[in-house]
Structures are given as C-alpha cells and as structure tokens.
Amino acid sequence: MANQRVLVIGGGLAGLAAAMKLAELGTPVDLMSLTPVKRSHSVCAQGGINSCNDQTRQLGDSEWKHLDDTVYGGDFLQHQPPVKEMAYAAPKIIDLMDRLGVTFNRTQEGFLDHRRFGGTLYKRTAFAGATTGQQLLYALDEQVRRYEADGLINKYEFWDFLSPIRDDAGVCRGAVAQNLMTMEIRSFAADVVIVASGGPGLVYGRSTMSMVCTGSAVSRCFQNGAKYGNGEFIQVHPTAIPGADKLRLMSESARGEGGRVWVPRKPNDSREPQDIPTAERYYFLEERYPEYGNLVPRDIATREIFDICVNDGLSVEADRQCVYLDLTHIPRAELDRKLGGILEIYEKFQGVDPRDFPMKIFPAVHYSMGGLWVDYQKSADGGLEAGSPLNQSTGIPGLYAIGECDYQYHGGNRLGANSLLSCIFSGLFVAPCVQSAMEAQQGSAADQPASLYENAVQDKQTEHDALLNQAAGGENPYLLHQELGALMTRAATVVRHNDQLTEAYEKLGELAERSRNCSLSDSGAWTNQNVVFTKALKDMFPVAKSIVRGALQRDECRGAHYKPEFAFSGLESEEPAERHRQAEAWCDRFEKNTQKWLKSSVASWDGDNPQIAYEEVDTSLIPPRPRLYGLVGGEVIEQVWAERMARRHGESGNGAPQESNQAAPSTT
C-alpha cells in the first residue's frame, strides 16, 4: 500500500535480512541501530552456519534430520513447525549468502567446505575462516547499503529505541527513539515495527556478548505489553577466554576442527601442558561421551567443564577455574586457514600462541534461547504458512520480533551454528508476513492523529529530563550494574538451586528499587552515555526478573536449565533384569516430567513483576524422547523407550523420528 513503511530496530543479521527483503519487495524501511549496523554483535559469531548439504545428504542426512537434531538438542522445548521451516530453508539460505559474495572456505575442487559442530554427527556447517558471522553480516550490510543508495532504506545509526507507540486500540504505530549524539527524542511513524535487537548479555555483567546487548529494546516492548518466552533458558558457552571487561568467545569450531578438551589427571599438576604425557591427561568429554566426544551439545559440555573444575578440583590453575582446549596436534597451516580469526584473538588478549600451547578456557554466558514471545501459523505440511501475518508477530498488532530476541527456534538449548541460520531465516521470512499484515491493517500510521506521536515523545522527554535532574549522591549506575551482573552470574547460569534463586529474586527487587535512585555524573546535552546507560540498566530488571522467576518456577532439568535436585541420574545396577527395571522406572519418570514440564514459560509484565503462564509445545512432527547423550545406561533406556513407543503406537519403530514423506532424502 502506498506510503506504508516499516521500522526495523537492530541491524544485525536478522534486522539486515528483513530490511533487505522488505526493500526488495518494494517497502521502504527505516533501519535503526545503537551502532553503525556494520558493527553489530553478529560480527562476533565465529564458527559457521548449519544446513543439510550435498555431501551430508549422501551420508544419509536430510533437512528432517537437521530438524531432529535441533529439537533433540533443544530438549523438545521449541514449537516444531518454525524449526522445520527453518531447516528446510537452510540450504537455500547458504546458496543465497554464497551468491551475495560471502567468502566461505572452499574445498580443493571449489565447493563450499564444511565442518562438524556440536549436537550432530554430520558435517553441516559452512564457514568463512573463524569469522563467519562477520562475513555473513558484511554481505547483508552491503546489500542494505545498495538499497540505501537507491533510497529505499534510511538508516538511523546511533539511535536508541525507547518505546513502541501503541494507539488506543493497542496497535503499534511506530516508536519513540533518542539520538545518542544530539540526545534528540523523536517519534518514528511506522506501519509495522520489527524488533531485531539481539540478546540481553549485559544482564549478566560480563558475557561473550557485545556492549550494545543490553536487552533494553526487548524489555521496553515487554513493559509495553509484549510477552517474554522461556526467559530461564540462557546458554552458557563451554569455551570462552576470561577477561576483566568481557568474556571472549572461543568458538566451538575449535573443537569442530579437532580441538580436544582436557585437564591433568593429577590435581594441581604444576607441569607445563606439553610435558604431561597423554596417559596422564584426562580427556573427560571424550571419555564420558564416546559418540559425540568434544562435540556434545553446549549445555552438556559446559556442565562437564564446570563440574571438573568445581567438584573434581581438576582446574589447570590453582587460583582460577579453567581447562585446556588443545589444538597443538593440528598442523599450523590448517589452523591458520580454518581458525585464524579466533587464534589471533587468543594471541592478542592472552599473549600466548594457541598453535603451540593449549588454550585455557572456561564457560561464559553466551546466548539467550528465550526472548519475545512470537506466534506462527502452521501449514498443512507441518511447516509455516508463508506470508501469514501471524508468523513472528508478538501478539501486539504491528509489532514483530526476529533473530536472537525472539524465543522461537532453539528451545532449551541452541545448537552451535544454528543461530546465524535462525537470524537470517527469520529476517527473510518475516518480510512477506509483515507485508500481509500491512495490507490487512485498518488505517495506516500516516493517518494517526499527531497527538499520538507528540504525547509519546513528551512522555519520554519528561523521563529523560527527570533522570538528568536527579539529585546528586544517589546510586552509581555502573557499580549497580556490576552488582546485578555478579548476582545473575551466581544464581542463574550453569547450576541452579531454588534457595539461591529465591534469594536472587528478592535481591533483584532491591536492586531495581535502588536503580530508580541513580544519580548521573554527567548532565551533558551531547553524547551523554551516562544517561543512556542508566536507562538501559533500569530496563535490565524486567528481563533479569523473568529469567530468575522462570528458573525458580521450573522444577526440572531441561537443556541449559539445570537443577541438580531434579536431575535424572543414570542407571546404577549392573544386573540385566534390575537394569531393565530401572530403565522402566526411568522412562516412567521421564514421561511424568514431560507431561508436567514440556511447556514454554510465557511471562507478562504487571508493572513490577513478571507473571508466568505456561504454553503447550507443538511436538506434532517429532515426539519427545529422552535426551540421552552419554547417560550411564542410556542404551537400555533407549531400548525400553523404543519398546514402549512401539507398543503404544502398535507399529515397529525405535522411538527415533520417522522420516516424513516430503523429506525423503535422495541419495542417488
């Protein structure tokens, strides 16, 4: 329709993909970002992007198996139709990015090279050195610049999204935002607003996320009526380099290319790693998980590293927790070609060459599976209905969410190299959906009374002025942020306990209260980062509370959410009949737990606290089954489970997914 425009908040992979696709479809786009879009956090993604490909297909892989790995890795907590649609789109997305000029690594013959990533047995991951996110982002940035040159996209870089603007009927008609340089607050009329603002890493103080990843845009939508799904599912990446300002990611691709994780078998072994003979090294992931080895899903690798340091006391350093990630057995030339980018990061920050010495790494908060709740429309074949205005809709008419900031694709745990895929997929896929929504819309943003926008700006201006004029002597926002980060890291990361979570929730209330009393050390009217940060800090609490409350209420273990009190241990008996009986009991317990907890948490904000409801998960494509990576007695449980499923469905089968008809792979 004439004069309709879309406002995209965030210029990472998802936002750029959406902007590009919308412009291509002829819709003008305003693209807003805290930073020049080329500097978005997607540049930090290292390892690669997943899809079933020509090589894996001939080994029996298919899009269906990619779907299966994704939902099994995610502990079945995600609705399956969107995941199916994404897995089937994946090969086409790789083709597209290849056409856009992404410098993917090549095989000798000139085809795209692939590596293996966690949670799958196939080499599905296409990559561009160890800076794949950067290279994908640049390709989309370039296309967006092309549309910008044509006048279809307007960029608003260094702008902070303050709030969606909703009319009396609740429809989103645009947004209020603030210029980070001039501090001007103004409205942006838009027929649809798409939020693509990434994850909330700063809620944890230090994480692998970039400094713009405050979660504030999401929080501002949440506080304006959008819902927040699966907040408690936070991915802690197994391998990061500890640092005073940031925990820097050391990509899973290091293990995908053969990197091995180990610690000395002897506690406090003071020898240099190269002097420790193989027999005295404990390759604990390989020993505990013979099938997946170093490439178990992230939640598992993280817990094992945590356990080996905290409970087994085998950290390689006495005063600091870390384990070795060892690449030194791989030829230098190969390392440089495939992992150069991340090895340089290690070298620059640690002053040690990881080609010669094993790296010292420890887990760090990395990604949020949870995010803004979004809808979808299931199609007849179990995927998504293309172009339906429901897809990626937050439930607020005119407000959409895509990329890491939606809760849709990764369930309880995200598989490595699936995030670049979900970002680009949701960005491309949302464009025609948004167009249908605009076609069906009653009245356009341009028809709204000017007062709607003026009032929204006035509200934010008043808040801003009040903050600047707050009396001196109050809280220091930077120190308060450190307290928040320490609290969240202690209570809501790898291992969670109800008493700690209860305490943390109370403490969050106190910190939130104190954050209202922040005094600014800067009253400047130009590039006042102090006031911008303080606003972001205040908006971290609704998200932090949703994470902690969701975690507190979820009395089970699922994916990244682990409460030892509710863990299912392996089978103890060695005696076959007893072992079988234990496996039956294990499966009974599993079914009961699935019945009770295979539900997404969906939080709504009541002004002070998140109120959490639970939503059934669509598991119509692949029935949930026990997640057994490396569990003692797993093979017996698997067998018992298969028999049970076979009895129940009166058909042969092992409980594993059945290849659907439309997904039959062609191997000829």
Partner: protein
C-alpha cells in the same frame, strides 16, 4: 600484588585523555588515576574512569565518552589514538602499554574525523566511501536461484583477508593524504540540507585505502565484476586513487593486516587498463 606492581610499577597509573565536550568546541587534557588490575585493557580503564567520575586531582568530572562494542577487535568501533597510534582500545593491553611508556597512557580521539565528544568521532565519511565504490555484489535478488559461482580455494584465500576490513579507519587516520573534513551546520540550515552538503563534501574527497581495497575485492568477485568498470571510474575520478602518495602507513597500521598496498597496486594496474579501454571506446 599484581605482576605489574611486582615489575616495579606502582599499584595505580595515570591516564591522560584529550577531551572535548561537543562538536566544534575546543579540546582539553584531563588526567585520571586508575587502580591497576590484572589483564586490563584500555576499555576496562575507560570503564573505571566512567565509574569513578573523578579526575586525578579529585575534581568531579563527567565520564569520558567513548565508542565500543564487540571488545574483541572485530567490530572496529573502539578505534582511538593510544600513545600516539590509531588502534582499537580493546586489544590495547595496559601492561604492554605501561612497559612501552611507563609514565602514563595517553588517549586521544582519531584525528581525521570530526569529534562528537571526547573519544567519540563521526565516521560517516568512511561508510559513504563504500557507497561511492559500489561495495556490493549486484545480485538479481534474494530469491532461490541456486548456489553462487564456484570459486577456487586460491580465490577465497585472496578475497577473505580483504573482506575482513571492519571499517575501523586506522588506515585513514595514519594516511598523510586523508585530511579531516569538518563542516558546521549553518544557522538556518535544515538537518537534511546539512547532511546533503556533508555528503557532497565527502563524495569529492579522498576515498582512502579501505575503499580502494574494497573495489579490488568486488572487482575480483565473479558476479561483482560486472560493475568493475564503474568502480574503476570512481577510483579515477576526483578523490580517487591518484591522491594516494604511497606513504604505506595504511598497511603498517591495519589491525587486520590487510594487504592494503597490494590492493592499491592492483587497483593502479586496473585503472591503467581502464584508461586505455576508455580511450579505445571513444
């Protein structure tokens, strides 16, 4: 006690920062004292400076403004002049800086871009240059049209380093031929008019090494090369390749070690051929 203190340095150190309150205003030096901690970089120094909001002589001062994002030298945001050299603040490690220059650490904004405040500069011109050279692959669209053109491993190994340019601007700050353009809005000038005037000034000024290198990247791409002539024309136009004085500072300061002078040489050869081609076309 930290390693550094053990090495004979004290437990805190001084940072001298060149500040400016707003565009066009005059700049001034300010000293800050920061406690030494292990593994510090200039980012963590600036974080401490912001949190303490007090200068070395005890005056309450506004936090120093600076730009940053990824903190792992892949986004380009935190570029500033540290002890006299344009580089990223995240990879500038405090212990190393103090070893080189024990008295203090000196921070200044980049010198070739207008200062917005303190260490924050406006690098719009850098991105305009990418528009000018048509730094993209002109695909038909994002529909499913099969894979891209097959490329050899060698081609990828040439393209990938060029494609790692994060638009940080170090090469420009170090270039003697790249001069600062700073316009001030007229009294009655609208924001749009000012932006247009600024674009015009940028579009006739020197492109710089980063943009020249991007033309080489896209002209080598099997699809990108359909625009090769147009890109070379830009290099031969006002503010193009001819301005390069071959000082070779760019390649020396590039944090990603991009072979910028090789790109400039390749662009030089290509423009020569383009000149002949244009001459024969006449």
């Amino acid at each position: 006690m930290s390693d550094h203190a053990a090495n004979g340095h004290s437990d805190s150190f001084e940072v001298r920062i060149l500040r400016q309150d707003a565009p066009g205003e005059s700049s001034y030096w300010e000293r800050h004292r920061v406690e030494h901690e292990p593994d510090m970089n200039v980012i963590s120094v600036l974080q401490r400076v912001a949190a303490q909001a007090q200068s070395a002589d005890g005056r309450a001062v506004a936090p120093v403004a600076w730009d940053c994002n990824c903190l792992e030298e892949v986004c380009g945001a935190c570029t500033m002049v540290i002890n006299g050299q344009a580089r990223q603040a995240c990879t500038a490690l405090v212990d190393k800086l103090l070893d080189e220059q024990p008295a203090e650490i000196e921070l200044q904004p980049m010198q070739k871009f207008p200062v917005l405040r303190d260490l924050v500069v406006d690098r719009t011109r850098l991105f305009s240059a990418l528009k000018r050279v048509k730094g993209w692959v002109p695909v038909d669209g994002s529909y499913d049209l099969g894979p891209g053109p097959r490329q050899s491993r060698t081609e990828q190994e040439v393209a990938y380093p060029l494609s790692q340019c994060m638009s940080c601007g170090c090469c420009l700050d170090a270039c003697p031929q790249y001069t600062k353009i700073e316009l001030t809005p007229g009294v009655d000038e609208s924001a749009e008019d000012f932006a247009a005037r600024q674009d015009q000034a940028h579009d006739s000024s020197f492109l710089g090494a980063h943009a020249i290198s991007q033309t080489v990247l896209f002209n080598a791409h099997p699809t990108g090369k359909v625009n090769a002539g147009e890109r070379l024309d830009v290099l031969m136009d006002e503010g193009g390749l001819q301005i390069c004085g071959n000082a070779q500072n760019c390649v020396a300061v590039c944090p990603k070690e991009i072979p910028l002078t090789t790109s400039i040489a390749r662009a030089g050869r290509a423009t020569t051929f383009r000149l002949l081609e244009r001459w024969f076309e006449k």
